[in-house]
Structure formats: structure tokens, C-alpha cells
């Protein structure tokens, strides 16, 4: 599972890279709203990028529960598992 989460995390960070300044440090602990200076619309656009990349839909109520990059990756992992 750790391997899969790591792969998801690498993918998520890559997607985020073009939405934030180049020198922004992104880790699993990074808070998506608080630490990255993204407004709520930009966050939802980023979530759509993640959905496209991993071919899934993250329900809005699930998005509301996610605060950090790590939590987002766990949500993606869980939803991918559920889809199998």
C-alpha cells in the first residue's frame, strides 16, 4: 500500500507543480488550502486534474474532508480500490 500511496503522491505533486510558484515545497503534510495560496476555485480545479489523472471522481463531500496532500492521496487510493 505504501508503494501505491507514494506513486499517487508523486503524481499529485506533479499536477500541483504548475499551479504554485516554482520554489514551493510540497510534502504529504502540506495543507492544500492553507499552505499553497490557492483560492477555493483553484483548489477544485486542481482536484479535477487529480480526478482526470487517476480516472476517478472524488465526491465533493469527500473533498471537504481532505486537508493535506497526504489525505488527498489516501482518498485517491481508497477510491481506486473501491472501483476495482
Amino acid at each position: 500500500m505504501t508503494d501505491q500511496i507514494d506513486t499517487i503522491e508523486a503524481g499529485v505533486i506533479l499536477l500541483l507543480a504548475h499551479r504554485v510558484p516554482a520554489d514551493t515545497k510540497i510534502t504529504a503534510e502540506t495543507r492544500i488550502v492553507g499552505d499553497l495560496g490557492l483560492d477555493s476555485v483553484a483548489v477544485l480545479d486542481f482536484i479535477q486534474d487529480v480526478e482526470d489523472r487517476f480516472d476517478l471522481s472524488i465526491p465533493l463531500e469527500r473533498v471537504a474532508e481532505v486537508q493535506t496532500i497526504g489525505e488527498l492521496c489516501v482518498a485517491v487510493h481508497t477510491l481506486k480500490g473501491a472501483a476495482r
Binding site: 483560492d39 483553484a42 477544485l44 471522481s57 465526491p59 472501483a83
Partner: protein
């Protein structure tokens, strides 16, 4: 921690906005002179940000009907539709709206916001999935919060993305309910309803379309974008408002669903609020009659909007994707947008300032709404003021374009 400290960021943003001149959320008209003119800061101003698309707020037949109703039935109903708040005129208005749309039934709500809140939160149950356009109005998002269903956003106006998301749900139980809009309120772009209706037919779903900004402004009979694009039979529920083209307040839902009336005793935003007062029901019934019998209102707003849109585009403004009764000017940034909006007001032209996060794509917009009541001279004044301010702020080239502003009629479609 102070109770409202959670809004510290909001307070800071508001203070920064007000520092640019006026507080855009606290504009006070000292007088409303007509559907297109007001008095602000002691000076006359042209109203280009009202959603008064057909200019019916001062229509004499609507005013007379409203006055007559308030004299006959009083100032308020003092109760909800399911208790003491249903009068004969509420039922009559519902029949008239249903007939206008050629649908079996209609329900009216006290606001358009409540119409979306009520319909969406009630029809979407725990095991269902709501698929909403990402650029949906706040009332649709709030309805989703009130619903027990799973909420999935699809990319704005992207039928392929909708189809992909429906495809991912293929083995799941529950009803799929798609929600989109006729015209989107910020950029004034139309919903791609043909493509979305086609996905709905192929994949099986219920389709709700909010025509708040398109009632009266689109379609041969004024029924909106669904009529204009020939998809009315694919749409299960049309939601709309009385607060824009019909010049009052209130909302409605129309449908052919056989058990539609059951919603009256299941829909909490319908059941637990006071019904529309007689004066509003009176003016809305008259306004509906006006638009049913006078297609020239819709035609006029389309002509005026097209003219303004094409002239602004010709001058070099970046605009929303198509001409509709909403014409949105994309500003190069938030500060410029605030300056532009303030300068237009200085010059006597009121528009709407729309900033992130209330806008799609984090755009900063000057949002104009055009009315059938705007005269050619008023459109011309608004246009020349926007061009002058655009040059002053460096958004447009300082040299006039070869086509003079007064020649907008000659600009090709």
C-alpha cells in the same frame, strides 16, 4: 478565540477592496428612476448591472396588477404554502407557468435560490448521485450540501467529462441527476445542452436545467436555452426565477413528472417558509403575460447585447465566449478590475464587479447585464465610457480603433 475570527481573511479582503474606492458590496442607490437609471452618490447613473433583462420592473401593467393584488389581498400571506399561505392566485400563477413551458405542473418558491435548494435537495436521495457543472450557481452548490446524495462535479460545459463520470458510476445503484444551467451567470456563456441532453439519453439520467438568466432572453417564445437548442423534451425539470426577466422575486420549477405534486409535502425549502406575497404574485403573473404575448422584448435584449458585445470585442476587450444578456469584460487582474469598476461608477455607469473566488477560472470580471429597456443612447454611453476607462487604465491601446464607437451597428455579427 472571537466568534467571527474565522472570517479574518474575509475581513482583510473586504478592507483591501474598499481601500480601492467604494465597497462593491455596499452600493446604495438613493433613487431608482427607471429600469435603467438610478441616483447614486447624488448623481444620476445608468444601470448596467441589474439582471433586469426585459426592463419589466417599471412596466405599467405589472405595477397595476401588483397594486391591485396588494389592495385586494393584503401585504403578505403570513404563512407557508402547506398551511395558510396558498391563495387562488398562487395556484393560478403555477398553472400559467406550467402552460408557458408546456409542462404538466409547476411549483413556485419564495426565491429562486430556494427553488434550486428545494428541488435538488429533495429529489436527490441518499443512494443517488448528483452530477453538477463545475461553474454552477451557489444555490446549486448549497442544494448539494443539503442533499444526502453523492456530489460529483463535471468540467464546465464538458459533455465528454460528464459521460466519463457517469461511466464510472455504471455498476452503482441509485439515480443519476445532472444539473446544469441555460446561461451561466458570470461569463454569460450558454450551457451546451444538446451535447449534455445527448449524454443523458445515452447513459440514462434525470436532467435539471436552471434557466434563471435565460427566461425571456432566449428562445422563440422566451422559454430559454432549452427551447432555443430544441432540447425541452429531454429536460426533466426546468428551474427559474422571477427576480430577473420578470422583475420581482421568487422562483419556480416546472416538470412533466407524474407525481410532481408529491414534492409539495416533501420539499422543506417549499414547506417551511412563507409564500410569496400577493403583490409579487400579481406583478409576476402580469409579467409572464407580457412576455408570452410580446416577443419583441426578448428580441430587443438580444440585439442590444449583441451590439454591445461586438463593439467591445472590436475595441479589443477580452470578453466572455458569446453575446448574451450578460456581457463580461475580463480584466487583467483584481486591482485593475476594482479600479475599472470604480471609474465606471465615477462616470455614472453601474456594473457588477465579480472577483475570485466567486468567478470561474479565478477571473476578475466587470459584469454587465443588458436590458430591453436600455435605449440605444444608453448603450452608446456605456460603451464609450468603458472604452475611455479602458484606455485610461491601459487595458486598451490609447489610440482609437479605426471603426469609431458610434458605428457599432456596422460591426459584423
Amino acid at each position: 478565540m472571537a466568534l467571527l475570527s474565522k472570517f479574518d481573511e474575509l475581513r482583510g479582503a473586504l478592507q483591501a477592496l474598499a481601500a480601492g474606492g467604494r465597497n462593491p458590496f455596499d452600493v446604495r442607490f438613493e433613487k431608482i428612476v427607471s429600469a435603467t437609471e438610478g441616483v447614486l452618490e447624488g448623481r444620476p447613473c445608468l444601470l448596467f448591472g441589474t439582471n433586469n433583462y426585459l426592463g419589466l420592473t417599471f412596466d405599467q401593467s405589472c405595477i397595476a396588477a401588483s397594486v391591485s393584488a396588494v389592495r385586494a389581498e393584503g401585504t403578505g400571506t403570513t404563512g407557508s404554502r402547506i398551511a395558510n399561505g396558498t391563495y387562488g392566485d398562487h395556484v393560478l400563477l403555477e398553472r400559467r407557468i406550467a402552460a408557458f413551458y408546456g409542462k404538466r405542473a409547476a411549483m413556485i418558491f419564495t426565491t429562486g435560490y430556494q427553488a434550486n435548494l428545494g428541488l435538488i435537495s429533495t429529489v436527490a436521495g441518499r443512494d443517488d448521485q448528483l452530477l453538477i457543472d463545475a461553474d454552477s450557481h451557489a444555490s446549486i452548490y448549497d442544494a448539494c450540501k443539503l442533499s444526502a446524495a453523492e456530489i460529483i462535479r463535471f468540467r464546465h460545459n464538458d459533455a465528454e467529462d460528464l459521460a466519463r463520470r457517469l461511466g464510472r458510476l455504471k455498476d452503482r445503484p441509485g439515480n443519476r441527476i445532472i444539473v446544469t444551467e441555460g446561461i451561466f451567470s458570470m461569463l454569460g456563456d450558454s450551457g451546451r445542452l444538446r451535447e449534455i441532453a445527448s449524454v443523458k439519453r445515452e447513459m440514462g439520467a434525470t436532467l435539471i436545467v436552471d434557466e434563471a438568466h435565460s427566461l425571456g432572453t432566449r428562445g422563440k417564445h422566451g422559454r430559454g436555452v432549452c427551447e432555443d437548442l430544441g432540447v425541452e423534451s429531454d429536460v426533466d425539470f426546468v428551474v427559474g426565477t422571477f427576480s430577473k426577466s420578470l422583475g420581482a422575486i421568487g422562483g419556480f420549477v416546472v416538470s412533466d413528472l407524474p407525481d410532481f405534486d408529491l414534492l409539495r409535502v416533501a420539499c422543506r425549502p417549499y414547506m417551511f417558509t412563507a409564500s410569496l406575497p400577493p403583490a409579487v404574485v400579481g406583478s409576476v403573473t402580469a409579467a409572464l403575460s407580457r412576455i408570452s404575448t410580446d416577443a419583441s422584448l426578448g428580441e430587443r435584449v438580444r440585439q442590444s447585447s449583441g451590439k454591445l458585445y461586438r463593439a467591445l470585442a472590436q475595441e479589443g476587450f477580452a470578453l466572455g465566449p458569446e453575446p448574451n444578456a450578460i456581457v463580461a469584460l475580463k480584466m487583467p487582474g483584481k486591482e485593475v478590475a476594482v479600479q475599472f469598476w470604480n471609474r465606471l461608477l465615477d462616470e455614472g455607469v453601474y456594473t457588477n464587479l465579480a472577483l475570485p473566488p466567486a468567478t470561474p477560472g479565478s477571473l476578475s470580471l466587470i459584469r454587465c447585464s443588458i436590458s430591453a429597456a436600455h435605449s440605444e443612447a444608453q448603450i452608446e454611453t456605456a460603451l464609450s465610457t468603458m472604452i475611455a476607462v479602458g484606455r485610461e487604465l491601459g487595458i486598451l491601446d490609447s489610440e482609437p480603433k479605426k471603426t469609431p464607437a458610434h458605428a457599432v451597428e456596422r460591426v459584423p455579427a
